[in-house]
Symmetry: C2
Subunit: 231 residues, 2 copies
């Protein structure tokens, strides 16, 4: 019966995503394995981080290790927001039928959140704003840190709060639908829910929160000094 199903063309294609039976029009399975996809993703991240680090640590005298790390963070964010999330925002309407490396990467991630394959309104809007605003601004912020530009902290605050709020709503809507409506967007295996959904997105809660607090503190101190100097 299984082979009979796989040789016919069912109207609702079979797929591994949750909730069971969710309709994913035009779905084509991915070809790359999980290991291949995670390898490509990790290698790309390293391919961005290593040259950025080689450049940033010598870019300006007096750039602290913390500032170099922040430059690395924003450059990586810029590539992920523009490249990965920008691709999703552009092709969200028919991502399930695509077989590019980026589409297959999203199909792997969607095992932990099928909303990426069903063009969920909130996910598409949040990812579009992330790609259009936080993507380019992340590169500008990295440059502002290297150049010691006075726009650095306002920009760091704006991007970080944007990432943080987007991610809190991302977790919030998913957990709300799970607890209130009993709709599970993630497959039950812990590697998907914990490994992808919780762990990967957790970076965009913790690091933006640290950077937002840092920028707020530095800004408050600068305003306090300016006020004291003005008296």
């Amino acid at each position: 019966m299984g082979s009979a199903q796989s040789t016919t063309q069912p109207q609702v294609p079979l797929h591994p995503y949750y909730p069971l039976g969710v309709v994913i029009p035009g779905y084509v399975p991915k070809i790359l394995s999980t290991v291949e996809i995670l390898g490509i993703f990790s290698a790309t991240c390293l391919g961005i981080l290593i040259p950025t680090w080689l450049y940033a640590r010598r870019a300006r005298q007096g750039l602290s290790s913390g500032e170099v790390l922040t430059v690395l963070w924003f450059v990586l964010c810029g590539f992920i927001h523009l490249g990965l999330e920008g691709y999703f925002a552009r092709y969200a309407h028919d991502l399930a039928s695509r077989s590019t490396v980026l589409a297959q990467l999203w199909k792997e991630y969607s095992l932990s959140d099928s909303r990426y394959l069903t063009a969920d309104a909130f996910v598409v809007c949040m990812e579009t704003i992330t790609a259009v605003f936080w993507g380019p601004l992340s590169f500008v912020c990295a440059w502002c840190i290297v150049a010691d530009h006075p726009l650095r902290h306002p920009l760091q605050s704006i991007i970080s709060l944007g990432q943080l709020y987007g991610d809190v709503l991302y977790y919030g809507t998913s957990i709300f639908d799970l607890l209130v409506r009993g709709v599970e967007y993630s497959r039950p295996e812990p590697e998907y829910f914990i490994g992808y959904f919780v762990f990967l997105n957790g970076f965009w809660i913790i690091i933006p929160l640290i950077l937002l607090i840092q920028s707020t503190r530095v800004t408050v101190r600068t305003f306090a000094l300016a006020k004291a100097a003005g008296k």
Copy 2:
């Protein structure tokens, strides 16, 4: 036939909300008229704004008209976020069955967006964050302006970006569902779609955008001056 329907207890209660046939469990119609609800809302806003204005214009010497207006804005935001949106966040699960003045106000507003009566995941999460964070912080920010506290601009930026991003996603998700899925959450009469959905929410696009730009400019100038003074 109409009177026969109204004396029986239909399983899906009749209601005026869009999309036609949307299920609103436990729905009880509002008793107050549109004029009464708008009157109560306007009178409450004036009851907040007038005493705040009388206090703020004399609170500190050197407080500009722009700063007094910003204090008025944040005090009004504080009350609306905590009182009105806080009520929604607290009772979103059974708002349709409630008949308090606040519930009736939400039933009036829901004519332009039924997601408030169906406990839409994004709307509930966004309103909860608005009530819990931007509500109390709005009062703190109003106080910071009056006290000329160095936290003023960081806080003004955070609240304004939070309001702006929440509102852009609010418009975005609704327009996405309308254009992509053909789901209309608003009744078709222009007083609801234009009057409530576009006009009322428009304030939380325009004013936060102005305040965010203002805070960013002032902060950049202050950092530039501090850098120049340090050299």
